[in-house]
Symmetry: C2
Subunit: 167 residues, 2 copies
């Protein structure tokens, strides 16, 4: 977790955010987003008004990763949050996803959220599943063949959840 900081994203980060989320969206292997989504639409989604968005930034200013946090539901469900994380493929192995998830858990507690839910973790994304479990998430549901992977075909998606204790 050395060599970078996590700060709030601004609209000035939009090009850097697209450089990270664009390839992941295009690949279509880990997020249930349209692979042909345009840059404008993707950045508007990631920085949407329903979300708080953060970036992980190296000492030289390079954006290495980004995440958002938002209420997972409205009304009676708004005390549970949802996050999405993406890391620069060239920066894997530096603990960026782990640091962003820990940051989001802290931030969620500050915000008063009582739980964090991931609605759709693609089961073939073993690296992510393992990391989320290491950071306290449980698999609370398995959606059978709910994701069409471009190479692997239909694979399960997982619902993962972590209650957040009040500090």
């Amino acid at each position: 977790m050395t060599g970078f900081i996590i700060r709030r994203a601004t609209t000035a980060d939009a090009p850097a955010i697209w450089r990270i989320i664009g390839p992941t969206i295009r690949a279509g292997e880990t997020y249930a987003l349209a692979p042909d989504m345009g840059e404008g639409e993707a950045v508007a989604y990631w920085l949407g008004p329903d979300k708080e968005t953060f970036v992980a930034v190296a000492e030289d200013g390079q954006v290495l990763g980004t995440y958002y946090i938002r209420p997972n539901q409205a009304g009676g469900g708004r005390h549970i949050c949802n996050c999405g994380y993406m890391t620069d493929a060239a920066a894997t192995g530096r603990g960026i996803a782990r640091a962003m998830c820990l940051h989001s858990l802290d931030h969620a507690k500050t915000r008063g959220y009582r739980g964090m839910q991931f609605n759709f973790v693609v089961s073939s994304n073993v690296r992510a599943v393992t990391l989320w479990q290491a950071l306290g998430f449980s698999i609370i549901g398995r959606l059978p063949l709910a994701f069409q992977h471009p190479r692997l075909g239909y694979v399960d998606a997982l619902v993962m959840f972590q209650p957040l204790a009040k500090d």
Copy 2:
């Protein structure tokens, strides 16, 4: 299932749809929607461009219930659909919710969906949970205390799923 038909909703149905969904949204007991949502916003949500919306209409033209069907996720998740159903409180017991759900399952198969997912069934809504189970849905996940019920406090929400066989 006698005494009413199910047909596509049009914008002309908007006032009738609001008469059904408004009280349910205001009550805030069964859907994770903001209870203070305005009529315009609620109708725009229910008839949104991402959805196909239907109404159950009595022989005298009165709208008794309404449902929508939409892809539950984008990209690699768009082969699983999601639905929401609401029935006029004054018309309960006539099999309207059951008929709408059966209609939606047929429609989903016609559309080529491979499964139907309910993301957030409030566990205290026992009537709904029992009906969905009777119609082939399984509880595949339980979200602990994920819904704040206005009278009961925090209750679990359920993820329910049904694979759709190709006819």
